[in-house]
Structure formats: structure tokens, C-alpha cells
Symmetry: C2
Subunit: 326 residues, 2 copies
């Protein structure tokens, strides 16, 4: 079939949406009335670290595919980015990934302090929900969007994926850990001294990423469509697109770590290998990872086919995610 994207350059559209998303984020932060000054400064710092604005762009692109006006999409666009930004702040904490820099700037616990960073993440999550609760769409749609975001962010989504990641890489500080007898009964299969699983399969890794990053990417796509009033069948079709995008995004990330050079990446290449992280190249091999990525690109394309040129921006974003070089 003729490629609907080839005939159009969507990058001016993406730039315009990125500007809209930044404005919506600024409005969300400005809506705080009695914020403690240092907390507010740290929240702004965190949101600025967010970067590419991939998730808001997915909200706009998905809403556009179903004819929604951009004004209906600002609140969900800001909300998904606030959740993403909060997750970065908490992931960077010393007890988690212990990262001092993100996109060349000091992370929140470094620029401010650890207690503030914990609160920043907590308050950004709340702000995501209060922002979404004010989206100018019908109440029923708003409830559906709020439920979608809450589920994607929580133990069945992003937080659950991060917990799987901790379990897989044994990043947890085991020295601190002990269990009361009461706990031991309820988590019998978990030996805190042996929580890094040597038999981590590619399927386990897919599940981990489907939750850790995939859930919020999928929610971004669904939120745009929900704001536009898309039906169940369309949402299910979009899920196929979003799942391919999410997994492809991660495989691309893993491949870049192996293939890329640090200057282009803006972060240290080879870090995953150095940390003995479970990655797709490590579990599948580089060639098989590349083939899987190509297949996901095809699947993404096929999932969008029924929407024709309406999905041009979604397809362009998918390609950006799967073909990026940093």
C-alpha cells in the first residue's frame, strides 16, 4: 500500500504539539496555589527534565486520528507527562537507579535533596490526576480517562514493571531487608537473599517492559482516543499499535546501548552491559533483536492501516520511536 506518511511531513505538527504540551504543563504547575516554594521549584525542574514529550505527542496524535480538537487533549497530554516525569524523579533516587544526571542536568535529588525528590514525585502524580479531572470533556469520558491513567501508573502497570525490574537486576539493597514472621507466611516463595532471577527469559523481559514503559505509552494513545470518544473496537486496534510501539521503543533503546556512541546518545553507551542488565540483545542476540524490531515496525504499520491517513501522526511517532538514533 502507499505509505500515508511519505506524502506528508508531520514534523511541524509535532513541533506545534510539543509547544502545546509545554504550555499545558506550565498551566498545570501554575494551578498550584499554596505550594511550598522549594517544592514548586523542584517540581518545575523535574518536568523540564522530561525531554522528548513522546507521551503527550501520542495523546495529540491519537486524538487527532479520531477528530478531537487539540484543546480537548491538553489535559491528558499534560497528565501523562506528569506521570512520566514523576517516575523519572523516583527512578533516579539513590535507593533506585542512583542517577546524578538526566539529559545533562542534575537530577532532582542532586539539585535539591532526597526528601524533596520523594515529595516532588508524589505531588506530580497527584497533579496528573487533578489536571486530568479538569479535562473539558464529558464526565463519562473523564472517568474512563482517569481510570485508564491510574491503572497504567500503578502496580498493574508502571510501578509493577519497575518492581519487576528491581527483582530482575537485584538492585534492592538487601542488607537492609528482613521479614517479620507474619510477612514470611504471605510471601513464601521470595527469598530476599536470592531475589535476582538467573532464569530471566525473553518473555519475562517483554512483560517487564510492557508494564514499566509500555503501560503508560499505551495509556497515552488510549487517552487521546477516549477524549475523542473512540469506541472499544478502535481502542483495541490502537492497543496493537501501542504495544508494538512500546516494545519496539525498548528494543531500540537496548540496541542503541550496544551499537551507539556516547556522543550521539547523550548518555554512556555500553552501560547496560557494564551493569549486566537483562536486555533484548543480551537475551536474544543482536541480529534477532533487530529482526524483532523490524517485525514490530510492520505490526505497528498494520495496526494503523484501518485508520488510513488519519493515523499519519501516530505512524510518524511510531517510526521516530523505532528508528531513532538516540
Amino acid at each position: 500500500m502507499p505509505d500515508p506518511v511519505a506524502s506528508r511531513d508531520v514534523s511541524p505538527q509535532l513541533d506545534a504539539w510539543r509547544t502545546r504540551a509545554d504550555a499545558a504543563l506550565a498551566r498545570a504547575l501554575d494551578s498550584i496555589e499554596h505550594g511550598e516554594p522549594r517544592l514548586l521549584a523542584a517540581m518545575r525542574h523535574a518536568v523540564l527534565l522530561g525531554g522528548k514529550r513522546m507521551r503527550p505527542l501520542l495523546v495529540y496524535a491519537s486524538g487527532r486520528a479520531f477528530g478531537a480538537d487539540d484543546a480537548l487533549l491538553d489535559a491528558p497530554a499534560a497528565a501523562v507527562e506528569l506521570v512520566h516525569a514523576y517516575s523519572l524523579v523516583h527512578d533516579d533516587l539513590p535507593a533506585m537507579d542512583d542517577d546524578a544526571l538526566r539529559r545533562g542536568r542534575p537530577t532532582v535529588h542532586v539539585a535539591f535533596d532526597e526528601a524533596t525528590a520523594i515529595l516532588v514525585g508524589d505531588a506530580l502524580q497527584s497533579l496528573a490526576f487533578s489536571t486530568l479531572a479538569d479535562a473539558p470533556v464529558a464526565d463519562g469520558r473523564r472517568v474512563a480517562m482517569l481510570r485508564e491513567l491510574a491503572t497504567a501508573a500503578g502496580a498493574d502497570g508502571m510501578c509493577g514493571g519497575q518492581a519487576r525490574d528491581l527483582a530482575a537486576t537485584g538492585k534492592r539493597k538487601r542488607g537492609q531487608s528482613h521479614f517479620s514472621e507474619e510477612d514470611a507466611g504471605s510471601i513464601q516463595d521470595l527469598d530476599p537473599k536470592n531475589d535476582s532471577d538467573p532464569f530471566f527469559s525473553p518473555a519475562d523481559l517483554e512483560r517487564l517492559h510492557a508494564m514499566k514503559t509500555g503501560a503508560l505509552l499505551r495509556a497515552s494513545v488510549r487517552l487521546g482516543a477516549l477524549a475523542a470518544g473512540a469506541g472499544e473496537a478502535a481502542l483495541a486496534q490502537l492497543d496493537r499499535y501501542a504495544e508494538a510501539l512500546g516494545l519496539g521503543f525498548q528494543i531500540r533503546d537496548d540496541l542503541l546501548d550496544v551499537e551507539g556512541d556516547s556522543a550521539t546518545l547523550g548518555k554512556t553507551a555500553g552501560k547496560d552491559v557494564a551493569q549486566a542488565k537483562a536486555t533484548f540483545p543480551a537475551l536474544l542476540g543482536i541480529d534477532a533483536s533487530r529482526r524483532r524490531l523490524a517485525a514490530l515496525g510492520d505490526g505497528m504499520h498494520a495496526a494503523l492501516e484501518p485508520f488510513g491517513t488519519d493515523a499519519a501522526a501516530l505512524l510518524a511517532l511510531g517510526r521516530l520511536a523505532l528508528e531513532r538514533d538516540r
Copy 2:
């Protein structure tokens, strides 16, 4: 006027609601489908640490005052307690209050580990919103309830209050803190080396507690009333009750620390003084604090007067909060 409570013993009702709240919390936790086992075990541990279930009881009592069936109130009751439980987990972290025990049991980061405790708090907050999004009330009311909870939990409420507390007590780990030049411009008035304010007034302390604990208590009262379809005038009247309750709760807490003995309290008496914490007895004196507490009790009573015996359970809860001996 005759005391509407004197003629009725509400404690069997409170026990029944406490049982309902625990069941609603168990259902919320059971709704997680793909949770990582250790994360789930730690979330259960955190929710069990919650204790008195004051906030769910306020939801039920407030809903009852406006004729709501208990079944409409289970979701908001669980939601407010999930937010409370998450806040305790994060407050107990080493970077915050660094508490190893809560209600005689190890805190989450001690029983599990710090990374898990961070994720537990994050996932409990999400679970609060997904639980509330499923409340069996009309969409418009659900949106109002979700907005209410998000605002009360965030930078304008609980998180903002905790940030003020950190600023007041200088608990932040200053050694780690530095600012980039860019940040310095946006937070000009904040000297990170002098963030403990020696001129902390009683009004500052009231504001701190109105946000840190008062906002969620007030939201609990409002959520019950919103589920029942109460109007703006009734909500404003309930706010007067909830604000007196929230402040009185804290003054009682501070007085217990000075007057109580550790055995009755179940925690170390005199800890506030030892930590040089800003408290009402420290700022106002003990006698003035007692007088303020009595005046708040009267105000609470007056705020409920228009509701007559319908507010019997709310009044009983208010008394429990202001007259408790632990």
C-alpha cells in the same frame, strides 16, 4: 441544646464501618492482576500499618449524614485510606522521618527495602485513584470526588504540608544539596543552607497542619458528602467541621506528646521536644493549647448543629479525635 450523641452509642456503628473499610481495602488490593509478588506483599504490609481508619470512618459518617447507602461509600473510604497509607510509607523513609517502627511493626523500608517502599507509596497512590474511579456513583460525582482527592493529596494539600514541615524542621539532608545556576534564578529567596525558619509562627504551624493532615481529613468528609450528592452549602458547612477536626486532632497529638506516657501512647512520649519540633504547646504554651483545643471542639459542634442527629457519627468521630488519650 440537647447533645444528639449523648442519647446514642455510635461505637458499634464505627466498628461495623471499620470492618467495611478493611474489606474495601482488601478488595482494592485484590483488584491488582499482574502485581510483582514482593511489591504486593509490601503494599499489604503498608495498608495494615494504617491503624485507626479515621479517614474511612469520616467518609462513612459524612455519607450517612446525607443518607448515602454504605455501598456507595466503600470506594472513597478505601481511596482516602490508601492515600494515607502511602504517605506514611514515604514519610517513614530514611530521607524523611527515618522511622523503623509504626504501631509496633517494622516500617515498609525496614521489613522490605527502600526501593520497594518508594514503589509501594507510588502504587498505593495510583490504586487510590483507580479505586475511586470505580465508585458506583454518577459520573459527575465521581469526577468531583477524583478532583477533590487529587487536590487534597498534592502540592496544595498533603505533599505541600509535608514540604513545609521539612522546611520548618530543617530535616532535609543539606549536604547533598546544590543548585544549578538556572535553578537559582527561579528560587531566589531560598538559601539551601538556611532553610530552617527560626520565625515560625503559630499561624505558620496551623497552615502546615491544615495542609499536611487537614487536607486529607477534609477531603474524607467531603468525599462522603459528594457521594451522597450534597450541595455546595452543605459542603461549606462540613468544611468548618473538618477544619476544626483537623487542627484539633493535631493539637491533641502535640499535647499527648507532652502529657502522655509512652505505654499508653504506643510511641515515645516527649519525642517532639527531644527533636525540637515546632508544636502548638511549644509555640502557644500548654494552657493556651488546651484552650484552643476546647474552642475547636465547640466550633466543630456548632458546625454540625444544622444537621441535627444525622451528624451524630460525625460528631462522635470529632470527639474521638479531640479527646483521645493515644
